[in-house]
């Protein structure tokens, strides 16, 4: 064996040599070689430094929300384990809990159920519109043709928490917008796009929304909504937006709740915490209080993920949670 190939053979054993995991004869052979080979001794030193570098890494603390969620696992609650058929949308990950959905939902539920938070709305001018033809599973719904509820008359306020979803067809609340979100003569297509900018150059002016609707989603129609949101928001938001708009989104909620006499600041921390932990560059684009298979739910869409030299957020996650904050469905786009 020439020296070069001997070094190659020895180098393969150096890792185990350092760990004292070689058989005695191998160990002696490697040791004898090291005594006379400067290069292999240098390799041992480099390996030892690499091992020390790895071992120097600290353990990560488990995020408190994760700890809490892990203790909430109850297999019996996974009642929606059957995934709807997939097309371009990635397979839904069905989970009893998902950090984003759970904690964001808890924060939002606490917001939405504040008894003293009145969401003002235009309850007069509404028009019936049938579900978009693109998916017959989409429930029929009523769409207000009026303006953003924040711009509407306060005298026409209704308490979002007291909204009877069974009997509130034609009433829809929007929180979080300072701009018109529906055009005159809005149709369902536009309803699905609410919360998104009108055109692709206007993303800086678009704000996420909280809706209260009378929609009753099914797995199929939720998938359709997820697809609509994903397609419609494709390329609209950048990672910079995630920072700026997220803060603005949370600020708006805090402001709205406080303006109504609620403790708005209490909603700031959990919202930020979960968005931080879930996807650092995460931007909530759509939150809706609705129904899922006849049970009250929250639908939360989050835009996140970027890469490939582009700062645009290209992934969409959609969470359907029950009002206790547990995620019933979780979709993530490809």
């Amino acid at each position: 064996m020439n020296e070069m190939s001997k070094c190659d053979d020895v180098q393969e054993l150096l890792s185990a040599y350092i760990d004292n995991e070689l058989a005695d004869d191998e160990r002696r052979w490697v040791g004898a070689h090291l005594d006379e080979c400067t290069e292999c001794r240098a390799t041992v030193a480099a390996l030892q430094e690499a091992i020390a570098a790895v071992k120097s890494l600290d353990d990560f603390e488990v995020p408190p929300e994760l700890t809490s969620n892990l203790r909430g696992i109850e297999p019996g609650k996974r009642s929606h384990a059957v995934a709807p058929a997939k097309r371009w949308w990635a397979s839904p990950r069905v989970a009893v809990f998902v950090a984003t959905g759970a904690v964001a939902a808890i924060a939002l539920v606490s917001l939405l159920t504040l008894s003293d938070v009145n969401i003002t709305g235009n309850r007069g001018a509404t028009q019936e519109a049938t579900s978009p033809a693109r998916d017959k599973a989409m429930p029929q719904q009523s769409v207000p043709a009026g303006e953003s509820l924040l711009n509407a008359s306060k005298s026409e306020a209704h308490d979002i928490d007291s909204t009877d979803l069974e009997n509130s067809a034609g009433t829809e609340g929007v929180l979080g917008s300072g701009e018109k979100t529906l055009k005159d003569g809005a149709v369902d297509d536009e309803l699905l796009l609410r919360g998104l900018p009108d055109d692709k150059d206007a993303h800086a002016d678009a704000w996420p929304k909280i809706l209260a609707s009378s929609k009753n989603y099914t797995p199929a129609s939720i998938e359709t909504l997820a697809g609509e949101l994903h397609d419609s928001s494709n390329g609209l938001y950048t990672v910079e937006d995630a920072g700026e708009k997220r803060a603005a989104f949370v600020d708006k909620i805090v402001e709205e709740v406080s303006a109504q006499g609620g403790e708005g600041e209490k909603t700031r921390s959990p919202l930020n915490a979960i968005l931080d932990r879930t996807k650092r560059a995460a931007l909530p684009i759509y939150v809706e209080k609705a129904k899922f298979e006849n049970k009250a739910c929250l639908v939360i869409a989050i835009k996140w993920g970027f890469g490939g030299g582009d700062s645009r957020l290209y992934k969409t996650s959609l969470y359907v949670t029950n009002l206790s904050g547990w995620t019933i469905f979780h979709y993530t786009s490809k």
Binding site: E21, A46, L57, F60, R280, G305
Partner: protein, 192 residues
Amino acid sequence: MPQDKADLDTVLIKSYLAGDTDAFNELVGKYERPAYNLAYRMVGNAADAADLTQEIFVRLHRNVKTFRGDSAFSTWFYRLATNCCKDWLRKESRRPPTQEIQDTLVADGGAGPSRLYEQSETKALVQKAISALPEEQRMAIVLHDLQGYSYEEIASIAEVPVGTVKSRLSRARLKLAGSLAAIKEQNGRLSV
């Protein structure tokens, strides 16, 4: 894994299967930290690590009744957890490869107390070098050098011969040594 701890795991599983849901939470308490850290080191960021950890425990919930005690529970659990990591990485491989690195860089650039990754630049670079390793080698490094499992235990977890573990560790460390040498060359002495 000390014998008394292994025995306690078995007791907890039996209690849970007998209807004691608190027993499962005790298991969670024992394994959430290593599972989260395994997940974090495998996927390279806190957000995905949290999601992945939850998937690990959902899968544990679904499969715990199939644990027969043929091996230590910790070995069985790590096999489940590492398979979960592999599935996750396979699924996530469809996204642009630069994402995690960019996420890390953006996150590193951010100020404030909510940062969830290493404060030290050097440690972040070490993690980046680990993230660049092939999946099986990364797993071997994490299990051995960070979580303290022996070659034999890793072989049992990964269901491969001990020689394969040796080989994976050796290649992983040689690559890491090369990466760290390159970093040192660029940035001066590596402080670990």
